[in-house]
């Protein structure tokens, strides 16, 4: 497993844990470890209570759980067999997730006006995962270019 695969696996696993925690706060009311004591990043209740924490009846945290699970599985599978198809799925999920995360971070900053430490940590895992898969894809592209018949 390359360094990029290891980083992506750890980030995706962390993202899975964080999003599952956020989902359990919403669904079963587990204790919220957040609040004004965390200063500017303690706005979890405000973010959670906002209309932006769900798309219709679907909590955004549930989408996070699915997304992180897909990234984790794709990372592990690609580390094992280096298939181009799996790399494509991994890249697709990571870049879609990263674009959504950038949007969600902007919503916290400019629309809700509060930061939730867990949401930011989750966003970091997605962005780190995306950076890792981009690194893997670039090295795949280099290898493909180097082994092309025109280069020989």
């Amino acid at each position: 497993m390359s360094r990029a695969h290891r980083i992506s696996a750890v980030a995706s696993a962390a993202g899975l844990v964080i999003s599952a925690y956020l989902l359990s706060i919403r669904l079963i009311g587990v204790p919220v470890i957040c609040g004004p004591a965390l200063g500017p990043f303690g706005g979890c209740s405000k973010v959670e209570a906002s209309a932006w924490s769900s798309i219709g009846p679907i909590p955004v945290a549930a989408i996070g759980v699915i997304g992180s699970a897909v990234l984790l599985v794709a990372t592990i599978m690609h580390a094992r067999n280096r298939s181009e198809g799996i790399l494509a799925v991994w890249l697709f999920a990571a870049l879609a997730g990263a674009a959504i995360e950038v949007g969600l971070i902007a919503i916290q900053a400019f629309v809700i006006g509060a930061w939730c430490v867990w949401c930011l940590l989750y966003g970091s895992t997605v962005l780190v995962g995306a950076a890792s898969v981009i690194r893997v894809a670039r090295s795949y592209a280099r290898e493909a270019h180097d082994s092309s018949p025109l280069r020989r």
């Binding site: 609040g35 209570a49 950038v102």
Partner: protein, 225 residues
């Protein structure tokens, strides 16, 4: 390579579309939704306690052996779960048995409507109707700072709670009441409370709602069972 390029491009497009869908599914501003119209009839709370149990800011006998203090924000959805679901269960199991008193404190931090709701509740307390007003607030939560607890709707809630509206109007206009609510929030911070609801029994303090069995065990332990 073509597949990888397509995947990268599709991923970015799907992500951007996802953000657009999120924006379209939700309002940009706090503009009231249609359900926030002037013909608002408040939803009745799930719990209407017997009059002898609803005193001051609490529910239960004043000399009950266990005191559970609960810090909430009226706009916090988990506090709504507490008020609409857990409190009625505790009422049936412990309060009516004379074993538990639940005292409510305000930790208003989610915005102006949290303060307006808490001020309204304090003015209801002045007329010995705190619990009725408090229960109606949790039964009528809708989003956050979207008009659910506008001055007009709070007045409707005051009316169905059986308050003398003229006295309530005078009270909510008194800046001293807001100062009291702000002092409550300052006290919550000084106690190290980091979120709502926060539950306190003796030396035990927890943010969020514990599992029912854990909460019952905590109360039973305090009862010495």
């Amino acid at each position: 390579m073509q597949l990888i390029r397509r995947a990268a491009l599709s991923g970015i497009v799907v992500g951007v579309v996802g953000v657009i869908v999120l924006f379209l599914a939700n309002p940009f501003s706090g503009t009231p939704s249609p359900s926030m119209g002037g013909d608002f009839t408040p939803v009745a709370p799930t719990l209407t306690p017997a009059e002898e149990f609803a005193t001051d800011h609490g529910l239960g006998a004043i000399d009950a052996p266990v005191l559970l203090t609960v810090w909430t924000d009226y706009q916090c959805p988990i506090c709504g779960t507490w008020g609409n679901g857990v409190e009625p269960a505790l009422y049936e199991r412990y309060v009516t048995e004379g074993k538990l008193r639940i005292e409510h404190r305000h930790y208003s931090f989610l915005g102006e409507e949290s303060f307006l709701a808490a001020i309204g509740a304090e003015c209801a307390a002045d007329q010995d109707k705190f619990w009725a007003f408090h229960s109606y607030l949790f039964a009528n939560q809708v989003g956050e700072n979207q008009g659910a607890f506008s001055a007009e709707r709070l007045r409707n809630i005051a009316e169905v709670s059986g308050l003398d509206l003229a006295a309530w109007d005078t009270c909510v206009a008194d800046p001293a009441v807001r100062t009291e609510v702000e002092a409550d929030a300052a006290e919550a911070k000084s106690l190290g409370i980091t979120g709502t609801p926060t539950l306190i029994i003796g030396d035990w303090m927890q943010s969020g709602i514990p599992a029912a069995e854990d909460l019952y065990a905590r109360i039973d332990e305090a009862l010495g069972n």
